[in-house]
Amino acid sequence: MTAQRGRRIKRRLAVLAAAQAFVLAPLAYADPDDYVAVPGVEYGEREIELRLGTVSATDEHRQSAASLAFGYGVTSWWATEIYGKWHRSGATSFDAIEWENRFQLTEPGQYFADFGLLVEIERPRDRAEGYELRIGPLMQKDFGPVQANFNLLLERHYHASEPEETELGYQWQLRYRWRPEFDFGAQGFGDVGPWNDWEPRREQPHIAGPAIFGRFNLGGRQVLKYDAAVLFKLTSAAPSTTLRAQLEYEF
């Protein structure tokens, strides 16, 4: 790595750190910094990712969450990321370490949809929560300029102090590819409770709302990507408003 390249990277990291310090606010309900995973993997890609989220609920204090990750495309079909996660509800505290793996199962566009697999392992700081495993299929399909994503995710805690059930959640996303710097669409998240014994709908949290996306090519392999959404409650069990944002620096 040349000295000039090293200085450029340091400047980019300083920008990311400043953004985190400015935006980080108390963290929130469930995983407000969650994002919609996509099945595509880029071989050899290195990335630094910052995710932020804040939630306001009508009868609860505002909560916020943030994650900082380093990711790498190990092969043409496997990408891995390590996250540090923080939570704030009054005071800010380190929340967990997460290891995320995405596997690209099909070549984009080869079949009627693209398929992938997400496998996440999280170790919360609170050891009473044990280990959290989240796993599920990732699906993507293009309808002309519209990219549609839908993911089903099973989540379970192991070695927790209290027995846990396997819960079923989902993520979805519609993205209209208008310009590289600005795409727009919508996102949604939710869960139904235990996968084999769904909770009544009024007890299921479902949120959805408008989203924006974009990327800026910085030259060479360097790309800055963003996506952000404002998500509103669709059910009474969900927080009234969730703001989430993601900034990704690829190099």
Partner: protein
Amino acid sequence: MFLRIASIAVAIGAGTAQAANEPEFALTLHDHKFMPTEIRVPANVKVRLVVDNQDATPEEFDSHALNREKVIPGKAKATIYIGPLAPGRYPFMGEFNAATAQGAVVAQALPSRLKARIPPPGGAAMRRSRERGGIMQARR
């Protein structure tokens, strides 16, 4: 092993038998430039681009319009599936050398009398089409 089984299961479920019938078009990357710079494909048909990176360094085929990003190692080939595309122009670039590696896919609607003449992949007519870097031209 598990991933291989999962991939096979997905391929079977997605209709593997139909995935091999797309017209194929060749794209070469040499000295960080694409050849041809404009590749013409039939509209409303899924096609395969076979990108041959003849440079020693990797390149990333990147197209917002086609919604495709793929890193192609040096001295290697990669297959990129695109379409069906509405008639129009779809730019792409080599992200690692964007100043020189630029190109576009042009999707053209074929007259109905020509649609049946798109040959299956591997035939002599398709090889000639690849050499010309575009779709077959009508005989007059």
